[in-house]
């Protein structure tokens, strides 16, 4: 059963829920609307939403229990702001090892498009290819970070800077 809980405080949105294939698109649409409401321009909101979709699909496919916490944090950046998307879930050790390999590859590849094209063009079965993560870095211009504590994996992506909406309109 899917349960959702939302918190809205100081421009932070947090959702805790179980992901199946159908719920991933629900999250994507929600994140896109929330990002626009926070002031992210349309193409930036599409990019953050795409990132949320790819990360949530990974939860649906590879997590221990399909449960995840998804948060959007508005962080000041001078006179502008950035939106930080974080998806946190429990993952099996084998998947965590694969994630570490992928993040190492992403950090060693100066142009995210090169890694993305390489994974798109691979002829082997997809499996845990990291294609979704590579797409986020290549298409959404979001730098991704990996944080692991035991079995808990958190992947964060930071948007390009934008002018945040007024408090009253959020």
């Amino acid at each position: 059963m899917t349960q959702a809980h939302w918190e809205l405080s100081h421009r932070r949105l947090e959702l805790k829920m179980a992901f199946d294939a159908g719920m991933v698109s629900v999250l994507r649409r929600f994140v896109e609307q929330a990002a626009e409401r926070l002031g992210v321009e349309e193409s930036g909101a599409e990019a953050v939403a795409m990132a949320a979709h790819e990360l949530a699909e990974n939860v649906a496919k590879y997590s221990v229990d399909r449960q995840a916490t998804v948060s959007l944090d508005l962080q000041p950046d001078g006179e502008q702001a950035r939106l930080v998307l974080t998806v946190s879930n429990l993952a099996p050790p084998k998947h965590i090892d694969r994630l570490r390999e992928l993040f190492r590859a992403m950090s060693e590849t100066p142009d995210p498009m090169i890694l993305y094209f390489g994974l798109l063009g691979r002829t082997v079965p997809e499996g845990e290819s990291g294609l979704g993560l590579a797409r986020i870095q290549a298409e959404a211009d979001m730098k991704l970070d990996l944080d692991v504590e035991g079995q808990r994996v958190s992947i964060s992506g930071v948007s390009l800077p934008f002018t945040p909406a007024d408090e009253e309109t959020v």
Partner: protein
């Protein structure tokens, strides 16, 4: 008229259709292409390729105007299709033209990336 039924996907969240117009095939994708339909989309694109080579089509137009989203796995199925076309003998190759929605900027990013992987066969148009 064709001697066999044209491939089609009709899903709660995604539709795909194929029409034949002389030497051109027209594919229309609508809705959300994601985990729910990725195997169906891969099978559909295989069938489109078979149809295109059987008809010696010169081009396949892919109308994306009603496509709301496509995930990375479904994009990979598109790349597999493009590579199949590229490995055909020249007379059986055809152009793939993605007709993007100018209002959906994400489509420009995603499908321009595909066209740049194989610019001699793949292009985008608004």
């Amino acid at each position: 008229m064709t001697a066999f039924p044209l491939p089609v996907i009709q899903h709660r969240t995604f539709d795909a259709t194929l029409a034949i117009e002389n030497a051109t095939l027209r594919v229309k994708l609508a809705g959300t292409a994601d985990l729910l339909v990725q195997q169906q989309l891969a099978n559909f694109l295989d069938a489109v390729h078979t149809c295109a080579t059987d008809h010696l089509a010169t081009s396949v137009l892919v109308d994306l105007n009603e496509l709301g989203f496509i995930n990375s796995s479904c994009l990979k199925s598109m790349v597999s299709w493009i590579f199949k076309v590229r490995t055909e003998e020249k007379p059986r190759q055809y152009q793939i033209i993605f007709l993007t929605d100018p209002k959906a900027r994400w489509q420009q990013r995603s499908f321009h990336a595909l066209s740049s992987m194989c610019a001699e066969l793949v292009s985008t148009q608004e």
